[in-house]
């Protein structure tokens, strides 16, 4: 087990380097100049531009810039913003707690509501409730999330007045409720679909027949025998989704005016602040990698047939 974790951690290193390199290249190779952007519509002063570029190391070859960046990263330095020369880490640490809170709530929705709906639909496959759940998930997946978000905002916020249309206080769980629901909506639909298929499939497994033949009550068959086996594919999804919930909050944060990572990222794109973008992705990649390791370890708990060596 220990050796397995060690090997997995080692395997993460090339992936981590690869991903940061990829995003670094994407941000820097593509056209657009953040330094010139400092002048806005006014014509920039070439000597000043050159000076800034030199100060920030932007005149070095790309590979050197990347090495500098990685070296800094190892020491916990995410670089500085072009405009304002502020540490990127400050911006990230300001934005992340908000997004983590929002993502955690959305994730809980996915887990609880998604699995419940999926189990109900899977057990009652072909019945009215199954059709209803399936239809709901399909609609959620096929309607763009910003349409859902804006509609809910309009309905609950402006028409019914149940919620504040935008989030005033990002530590207020009540205010974050609807944004979190919107954020987790699509994931919830996928979790429900996955659980449903998995349940429907395992329902006819031999060991379920055995459990019935043992005279176990239906509730026990479902919770003890059916659910655990069926959740294995769902766990993978839920695990890898933690990171994407934070990354995917751009739309939700925009609609409900939450100042989280999505917002920061959108701003950074508009201002062409490469270091901020790379920084955010770096953190997200770490989250993703650790989450997938956790998922794999959780597998062994759920399914004793899996042994790590």
């Amino acid at each position: 087990m220990g050796r397995y974790v060690a090997r997995r951690l080692l395997q993460m290193i090339p992936v981590f380097i690869g991903t940061t390199l990829l995003i670094f290249l994407m941000v820097n190779v593509l056209p657009g100049d953040p330094v010139r952007a400092l002048w806005g519509d006014k014509p920039p002063d070439p000597t000043q531009v050159a000076q800034i570029r030199h100060d920030r190391g932007l005149d070095l070859p790309l590979w050197q810039q990347y090495l500098h960046y990685m070296w800094g990263l190892l020491q916990g330095d995410f670089g500085k913003t072009i405009a304002g020369n502020r540490p990127v880490l400050d911006e990230i640490t300001r934005a992340f707690p908000v997004s983590v809170r929002l993502a955690a709530m959305a994730w809980t929705f996915e887990l609880v509501v998604g699995i419940t709906l999926g189990v109900i639909a899977g057990i009652r496959r072909g019945k009215v409730i199954d059709t209803a759940v399936t239809l709901f998930t399909l609609v959620v997946i096929s309607v763009p999330i910003f349409v859902i978000g804006l509609t809910l905002q309009l309905y609950f916020g402006n028409n019914l007045g149940w919620i504040t249309p935008t989030v005033q206080d990002s530590t207020n769980f009540g205010q974050l409720m609807v944004p979190a629901l919107v954020l987790g909506m699509v994931g919830l639909a996928y979790v429900a679909r996955l659980t449903r298929t998995s349940i429907a499939e395992n329902r006819s497994a031999d060991y379920i027949r055995t459990a019935t033949a043992k005279g176990l009550p239906r509730k026990r068959i479902i919770t003890v025998h059916l659910l655990r086996n069926s959740l294995i594919p769902v766990v993978t999804y839920l695990g890898t989704d933690i990171g994407s919930l934070m990354a995917g909050a751009v739309i939700t944060e925009g609609i409900f005016n939450v100042t989280g990572v999505g917002n920061l990222l959108f701003d950074a794109l508009a201002r062409r602040e490469g270091a901020v973008i790379v920084g955010i992705v770096t953190v997200l990649v770490l989250v993703y990698l650790l989450a997938s390791l956790l998922v794999d370890l959780l597998y062994a708990v759920l399914d004793p047939r899996i042994r790590y060596a």
Binding site: A205, T210, A211, A213, K214, L216, H225, R305
Partner: protein, 352 residues
């Protein structure tokens, strides 16, 4: 069938007198499956009974309805697509088909238990065997988790699994095939049921292990004086343990007989064919006999006797008339106890 017209709550005495104190009495059972391709008639009027301490072997090819009958008795048929349009399954004087699902559940595992063919898939892969065994006591007898585990160890000892105490927390995949089947047997025996249904309990095992497992099952059955329904397609397994045999074909019983009589003098051409297809050492080099043709499509069971397209003795009558289960007699008309054959030409078959 007048039987199906009986009121829902059958008065105790009447059914008691009817089944003559039998442990299990299956009467005119029909099972059909509604599929996309049509209605598959898997069981078409099966009658059989088992007494305490008695072993009934149900013999037949796959698709003969032998497993479906067993699942109907257990109450584990998938319904839908399965359906029981008529028949009675009387257990200790009560028709189980008329019971509520909760009443049936309490019988399952507790009074009637089942052993499945493939223990690897029949045991839950993610729960330890101790948990799965202990579950029987927790659910039916309300024991605590700890007590149940102790009982599980006891059971594992009972079926002679070495180092039971150490292995109680192991998972099914960590056991060998024979050991897994012992665990299945232990699970079925847990609450000392009145009746055990074993559905091809040794088919998935190595030949060397088959005998051991069969022996264990027979021994425990004697000890607890349980009724046993042994479902198999293997004539060799049957001979040693069964008291009587019911041969099934296309959802019907075509022949019943005490075990040794059946081997000596089959009264149905199908049984005869089955017996002839066993390889025998004393006939080495003669080439194996095989029943020609394929088992019938249950969506389109041939008219008349279902076996007629494959039967060497088939006449016109066989293609139009479904043969009833005739009492088999000696040449002189003396009844042979427990013997019946559903063949128009049973006399010719048994007496040559």
């Amino acid at each position: 069938m007048t039987i199906t017209d009986m009121p829902a709550n059958v008065p105790g005495p009447r059914s008691g007198e009817d089944n003559g104190g039998k442990l299990l009495d299956v009467r005119d059972l029909h099972v059909e499956f509604h599929t996309r391709d049509g209605v598959a008639k898997a069981v078409n009027g099966v009658n059989y009974s088992v007494d305490a301490g008695e072993t009934l072997a149900v013999l037949g090819e796959s698709g003969s309805g032998k497993s479906v009958t067993a699942q109907a008795i257990m109450g584990i048929l998938d319904m839908p697509p399965g359906k029981i349009p008529q028949g009675e399954i009387i257990f200790r004087g009560q028709d189980m088909l008329k019971m509520s699902s909760e009443e049936r559940r309490k019988i399952r595992g507790n009074k009637i238990a089942m052993i499945f063919q493939d223990a690897l898939s029949a045991l839950n892969p993610v729960l330890s065997v101790g948990y799965q065994l202990g579950e029987m006591f927790r659910v039916h007898e309300g024991l605590s988790k700890k007590e149940a585990k102790a009982k599980a160890v006891e059971l594992m000892d009972r079926v002679r699994i070495p180092a039971a105490k150490e292995r109680v927390s192991d998972y099914p995949h960590q056991f060998s095939g024979g050991m897994r089947q012992r665990i299945m047997i232990a699970m079925a025996l847990a609450l000392e049921p009145d009746l055990i249904i074993a559905d091809e309990p040794t088919t998935a095992l190595d030949v060397t292990v088959q005998a051991q497992v069969m022996e264990l099952l027979a021994e425990l059955q004697r000890e607890y004086n349980m009724g046993l329904i042994l479902i198999t397609h293997d004539l060799g397994v049957v001979a040693d343990v069964a008291d009587k045999i019911a041969v099934m074909y296309a959802g019907r019983i075509v022949e019943t007989a005490p075990v040794h009589e059946l081997y000596k003098r089959p009264a149905h051409p199908y049984t005869k064919g089955l017996l002839d297809s066993i390889p025998r050492l004393d006939q080495k080099g003669q080439g194996l006999f095989a029943i020609k043709g394929l088992p019938p499509n249950l969506l389109k069971i041939p008219s008349g006797c279902a076996f007629n397209p494959r039967c060497p003795m088939a006449q016109d009558e066989c293609r139009s008339e479904i043969p009833a289960l005739h009492q088999v007699t000696e040449r002189d008309g003396a009844e042979l106890a427990g013997r019946a054959s559903a063949c128009h030409f049973w006399k010719e078959t048994i007496h040559g």
